[in-house]
């Protein structure tokens, strides 16, 4: 099932932060992780992120569930980059026949994996604690994005779970007609493509009807909209943004002082 439910309750501290402030913090941390090519900077950033989690009101269970696959992806990055490094430098840590793993390659691979890990964790923390409606409100109110685009995307997002239900309906209806992939991979692929096509045709029709309904309720009619829900930047939001920048600066500073910092490679 497709789920867009946040990983925390609506009253959790992190859910009440202005989405734009969260977006900024996520962007700052991810950008720092991406420009730093050493292993220490992302490690420090990751530590900072986890230091915040207990105060954010996030439930650990759902968070770990969300992160599981991203971390697995990061681990794959480490393995692939270590084993298939262009050159193995430094002391050999492990060897098996033609396969050799050196300290240098492991450090480089771990650094890459950590960068992915930081960006993924920060992204999940930022977006999985944000209600899509609040995000749209903050984008139109703080960043002045066009309501036509922002509210339009929000309405489209609401349609996503309907697609999953419709996929099941189409598949069942086709089994009733005697059409089923079975074990033949070619037939399965063909059936997948035609089911996808049927789903798309349905989605287009739905989108047309939704657009008409939005027009009929005066959306995008040239009058400046008012706001039923106010999103404000409060002092804590500014503090969070400043803190994110500070964390990034400290991480880079520490790793430079330790002498391992490397810029973008």
């Amino acid at each position: 099932m497709l789920t867009l439910a946040p990983v925390c309750g609506p009253q959790a501290p992190i859910a009440r932060v202005n989405p734009v402030a969260k977006l900024f913090a996520v962007a700052a941390i991810s950008a720092t992780a991406l420009i730093a090519a050493d292993w220490l900077t992302p490690l420090l950033l990751l530590a900072a992120i986890f230091a915040v989690v207990p105060f954010s009101g996030i439930r650990f269970g759902p968070l770990v569930k969300r992160l599981k696959w991203l971390w697995l992806a990061a681990a794959t990055v480490v393995v692939v980059n270590t084993v298939f490094a262009a050159e193995q430098t430094g002391a050999i840590l492990f060897s098996l026949g033609p396969l050799e793993i050196s300290a240098g390659a492991l450090t480089a691979g771990a650094a890459l994996g950590l960068r992915v890990c930081v960006a993924a964790t920060a992204g999940v923390l930022g977006f999985a604690t944000t209600d899509p409606t609040d995000l749209a409100d903050a984008l139109t109110q703080q960043l002045r994005t066009s309501p036509r685009f922002t509210i339009g995307s929000l309405a489209a997002l609401r349609m996503l779970p309907l697609l999953a239900a419709e996929w099941r309906q189409i598949t069942t209806a086709r089994r009733a007609r005697g059409l089923e992939g079975g074990r033949n991979p070619v037939r399965r692929a063909k059936l997948f493509a035609s089911t996808m096509f049927a789903l798309l045709v349905g989605a287009m029709r739905r989108a047309g009807r939704l657009a008409a309904a939005m027009d009929a309720r005066g959306f995008d009619s040239g009058i400046p909209r008012t706001r039923a829900r106010e999103q404000r930047m409060s002092p804590p939001d500014w503090i969070i943004m400043v803190a994110a920048v500070a964390v990034c600066a400290i991480a880079v500073g520490l790793s430079a002082a330790y002498g391992v910092f490397r810029f973008l490679s």
């Binding site: 209600d131 008409a212 309904a213 027009d215 009619s221």
Partner: protein, 480 residues
Amino acid sequence: MISVEFRGFAWRHAGRLASAVADVDLRIEPGERVLLLGPSGSGKSTLLAALAGLLTTDSGEQTGAVLLDGADAADQRGRVGILFQDPETQLVMARSGDDVAFGLENQAVPPAQIWPRVDQALETVGFPYGRERGTDALSGGEQQRLALAGVLARRPDLILLDEPTANLDPEGAKAIREGLRTALADTEATLIVVEHRVADILDLVDRVIALGPGGALAADGTPEAVFGEHGDSLAAQGVWVPGAPLPVRPSGDAGEVRLRGEGLTLAYPGADRSALDGVDLELRAGELLAVTGPNGSGKSTLALLAGGLEKPTAGRARVPGERTGLHRLPAKRLATHVGTVFQDPEHQFVTATVRDELAFAPRAAGWESERIEARVSELLERLRLDRLAGANPHTLSGGEARRLSVAGALAAAPGTLILDEPTFGQDRRTWGELVDLIADIRDDGTALMAVTHDRDFAAALAGRELALDQGKATEEATRC
């Protein structure tokens, strides 16, 4: 209060040769409550869309004028509210209150007034939850009530309803009508409603306008006058004229058992009770079993299990001659035993022409080409689809698509046919055609099961009724 006027109005959809409506001259006085009738293709929806300002210059070509209080309707979208058929595609926001507020924000209502007006509209339509309720957690009837609140909160001078209850079960439709009654009692807005099920809303209207093909005026007057004078011709066009008699097709004696369900049970993971709990059933040749019950009683689940389309958690459905349960049969074999027809016929179309659609299952079952040819010709003629043999199934009208989906399920001559809400949202004419078609299939010796909310349909055809409640059979009684 607002007056409505069409003056020599015509509309041609972009890319079409013929006009959807032409030469419409119509005047509706402020505060009138109008029922708009007409067969499909008479342009009712086009007229409503024109009033709502939804016909844009890039979607077609307009001649004549559409006027609200003497000024162009296209410039007055804010004074008009329209409720469509499909509840799912009218809701924009994730939370119920936000959705009602959406229309007010667009209208630039000052923020301080928005929430009081939202609450008032929700109360008027009898919305049973608070503003925070997620719109995806609502039933179809509740979603439609919310959409109605969204229309009313904007305080339109003209309210347009385009078959507002066609997609709802009886309870949902009743709740919408009650909401409407309350709403109309405390507004002076002009009302135009399009609805096939006339009897249900007759007390809300004081004038009936009937259109013929192309928007030509066929009748206009008070409900008594229009139905008194034109009742028969309107019924022939598909209107459910109040008091008009309905056909009854009683069945003969039931034959041998064609499909047997034993203790059918389905529990979805994480649900607090089984969707279906130990239901037994027998479908016999030449008889229709009507499966009835409120929403959520497990009717559709029973249809899926009996049709071999879903794996039961306990029990099984079997047909004579197969040793395993139906759900374990490969789809091709299943289609030769049981056919299932779903509510939405389009999901079931798998080929590009009507002829191929009918040949599909026999071909998959490995019939010889002469036998397939004979079967297809027979079905085309019997279901009056011969004229359309080369047409794409997706271009058929609602009634034709429904007939084709029934014919497609029957093509490989299965002994049993399962129908999920076959008459849902159909006009009177299509309804009559379906009753005749299904009666013929039954009298040819097919065993039938129909999941239905439609009392008239069950009364016309059913030999027995199986009533479900909360996943359990409450009674199995012989009726009619």
